[in-house]
Symmetry: C2
Subunit: 380 residues, 2 copies
C-alpha cells in the first residue's frame, strides 16, 4: 500500500492554526477590539537565525491557506500553491513561509461572524471597520508570537500588496524586502465606484437586515451574488474575457429571445456569483471593500507619496501586468517613482500578460522566473 504522494513541489499536507491575542487592539477608527484570533499556516522551517521568514498576505477572496492541502480535503489546494513549495519560486526548502488571514475575514480570524465577548452573540453589524494598517498591526502581533523580529520579506498581490507596502511603513525595521504585485497606492474614483455598487447590492438586499442577518437565519445571497459578478468582471481583461468566452452561445444555435442564459459568459458569471454567495460572509465583504477604499498612505502627507514612503527601509520588488485595468501598470509606476524619488532600492517589472488583474495568481514564466530570481538573491 502506497500512501498518496504530494504533487511535485507541493508542501503536502498542511494544517491551519490560530493564534489568540488577549491584549486589546486599538484600530485606526478609534474602536478597540478587546481580543482577537488570527488564522495562519506555515510552510518550511524557521532557521536558527530566524532570518528566513516570509509573510504572504492575501487579497479579497483568499485566506491563510496559501499552499498544500488539508489531510481531510485533498482537493482544497492553497491559492498560491504554484508559487510556494519546495523548489518553487518562493522555495520552502530555504524560506519559512507564513500565510496569514486578515482580521474581519470569514475564514478563521476574528470577524463579524465571531462572538462579541460583550454580548455573547455574533458581532454582525457591530464589528468595527478594519483597515490595512490594522491588519498589519495584528500581523505584527502574530510575528511576535512566532518569534520573528524581522521578516526576510512580505509579499502580496492586489489588496495583499497594500499590506506588503504598509509593512514597510508601519514597521520599517521589521521587513527587509517588500514584494508588491498588481498594486495601487490608493484606489481611483472608478475603483471606489465598483466597490460602492457591490456594497449597495448587498445592503439593499432585503435579507441584509442592516447587517444583523445571522440572528434572522438568512444571508443576503442576492446582493453577494451581484457583488461577486461585478468583481469578476474587473479581475479579467476585456481581451481575456473575449478569448475565454467570446460571444459563444451556451448550448443553443441562436439567441433564445428570453432571459435565460444565452451566452457562456452569462453562465460563468451566474456560477461564480452563486458559488461565492454560498460561502462568503456579506459583513466581511463590506468591510474589505471599505479597507480598500480607505487605504491611502499619502493622505497624511498632502498626497505626496514620496514623502509618505520616505520612512520605508525595505528593498522593493514591484510587479504589474499590462492588461490589468483594475490596478493598471500606471498605478504601480506611481509607487516606483515615489520610491525612486526617495532613493529607495526598487526593482520594477511590467509583465506583458493578457489575464488582467488576476494575472498575479497565474504562473507566467517571466513573472515566476523573476520572483524566483528575486527570492534567490534574498540573503538569509
Amino acid at each position: 500500500m502506497n500512501a498518496p504522494q504530494p504533487a511535485p513541489g507541493s508542501v503536502g499536507i498542511v494544517e491551519a492554526r490560530k493564534a489568540s491575542f488577549s491584549e486589546p487592539l486599538k484600530l485606526k477608527s478609534g474602536a478597540v477590539l478587546p481580543q482577537f484570533e488570527i488564522a495562519y499556516e506555515t510552510y518550511g522551517e524557521l532557521n536558527a537565525a530566524r532570518s528566513n521568514a516570509v509573510l504572504v498576505c492575501h487579497a479579497l477572496n483568499a485566506s491563510h491557506h496559501v499552499a498544500g492541502h488539508y489531510a481531510d480535503d485533498p482537493d482544497n489546494v492553497g491559492w498560491w500553491d504554484n508559487l510556494v513549495g519546495p523548489g518553487k519560486p518562493l522555495d520552502t526548502r530555504r524560506f519559512f513561509v507564513i500565510g496569514t488571514n486578515y482580521l474581519g475575514s470569514c475564514f478563521g480570524s476574528t470577524g463579524p461572524a465571531s462572538v462579541n465577548p460583550a454580548t455573547g452573540k455574533s458581532w454582525g453589524a457591530d464589528f468595527p471597520l478594519v483597515t490595512v494598517e490594522d491588519w498589519v498591526e495584528a500581523q505584527a502581533r502574530l510575528a511576535d508570537r512566532l518569534g520573528i523580529e524581522r521578516f526576510a520579506g512580505v509579499i502580496g498581490g492586489s489588496l495583499g500588496a497594500m499590506q506588503a507596502l504598509q509593512w514597510t511603513l508601519s514597521f520599517p525595521e521589521r521587513i527587509r524586502h517588500a514584494i508588491v504585485i498588481a498594486a495601487t497606492p490608493r484606489l481611483s474614483a472608478q475603483n471606489i465606484a465598483f466597490n460602492e455598487v457591490a456594497r449597495q447590492a448587498i445592503m439593499t438586499d432585503p435579507d441584509f437586515h442592516g447587517g444583523h442577518y445571522y440572528e434572522k437565519g438568512v444571508v443576503p445571497r442576492r446582493g453577494l451574488r451581484i457583488a461577486r459578478m461585478i468583481g469578476h468582471i474587473t479581475y479579467l481583461s476585456d481581451d481575456a474575457m473575449m478569448e475565454k468566452f467570446g460571444r459563444v452561445l451556451r448550448g443553443k444555435a441562436g439567441p433564445g429571445f428570453d432571459f435565460d442564459i444565452d451566452f457562456e459568459i452569462e453562465s460563468y458569471l451566474r456560477y461564480q456569483g452563486d458559488k461565492f454567495a454560498s460561502y462568503f460572509d456579506a459583513n466581511t465583504y463590506l468591510r474589505i471593500t471599505k479597507a480598500l477604499d480607505y487605504y491611502d498612505p499619502a493622505a497624511d502627507f498632502g498626497g505626496d507619496l514620496a514623502a509618505a514612503l520616505a520612512r520605508a527601509r525595505a528593498a522593493f520588488l514591484v510587479v504589474s501586468f499590462t492588461s490589468d485595468w483594475r490596478f493598471a501598470s500606471a498605478r504601480s509606476r506611481e509607487i516606483v517613482k515615489a520610491l525612486l524619488e526617495g532613493r529607495k532600492i526598487v526593482s520594477y517589472l511590467e509583465i506583458d500578460a493578457p489575464q488582467g488583474h488576476d494575472a498575479f495568481l497565474m504562473d507566467d514564466p517571466r513573472y515566476h522566473g523573476a520572483l524566483r530570481a528575486y527570492f534567490a538573491n534574498v540573503a538569509l
Copy 2:
C-alpha cells in the same frame, strides 16, 4: 410684455407626437406585434424634394425628445440639443430632423407597460424581446408615414449608432449617409457581462415578480438602481471620474468608518441610481440590454463583417473617442476596416476626448466641428 425667447440656436418649443400602426409587425424573434405606436418629434421643415430628412436614433436612456423643450416644461431640454437646432451642426434651417423613440421603450412608444390588446392588461413580462433590426423596421414604417422615401442621413451614438448602421443594411436604398458614433459592430464578452449583472440585479429583486410587477403595484427599484450605477461607471472613463470626483470626501474631514457616504463618487452614484429607478421601467431596461447583446450583423456571415456590410450603399462617417472603454476606438476601427474592404465611402474620426463613452453627448469643438462640416457637405 415680452414672451420668453428661446435660447440662441434652440428649436424652441416642440411637441411630442405619436404614429399608430395597425399592420402587425413580425419581429426577429418570430413573435408578432399586432399593432404599435412610435413616439417621435420633428424639427425644421421637410423640403419639397423630401430629400432633407435626418433621423436621430437614441441610446439606452434617451427618447425622441432630441432638441428644444416642451411648452409646459421649459427645463426639459432635448438630450442632443447641443447638436440639433438652427445654426447648430445638424442645422434645422437646412434639415428636417426626426427624433424617434424605439419600440419597447417606456417613453411613449409601445412597450412592456402598454396595454396588450389580447388581454386588456399591460404586457409586462409578456412583451416580446425586440432587436435593433426590429427598431429599424418600425422606423421605416414611420418614414413611410411621414412621406420620406430616403433619408439624407441617419445618426446615432452608442446603441443609436447600431440603429444607424442597421439602416444601411435593412434599407440600403433608403439612407444616403450613416453617422455612426461611439459604436461597436457587436458587444464584447465584457460588454455582455456588465449587461448581465444589471439584468440579474433587476430580476433577483423581490419586487420584480417575474416581470409582472405592474399588477402588484411595486417596481424593482433596488435592482434598477444597481443596474444604473453599473451603467454609469462604464459611461465614464477612469480619468474623467478621477478628474470629476477624485477621492474627495463628501462633507467630512476623514473617513466615517461606517457605511454611510464617504466619497463624492458614492453620493453621485447613489443619486443617479435613485433618480433612474424613479422613472425608468425595468422591463424596458431588460429588453434594451438584450437588444445590445444580440446585435451582431456579421453573425449571419460567419463573423465576416466586411461581407455583412457589403450590401450597404450609404456613405459613412464613423466617430470614436479615445477614452471610451465601453466601445473602444478599436471597435469603431473594425467597422471602418470592414467598410474599406468593401470599398465603401467612409470617413473616420478618432477624437482625443477624456470623457469616455459619454463623450458622444458632449460638444467638443473638434467633434461638433467635424459633424458640422460633414452635414454641410450633404447634398439636398
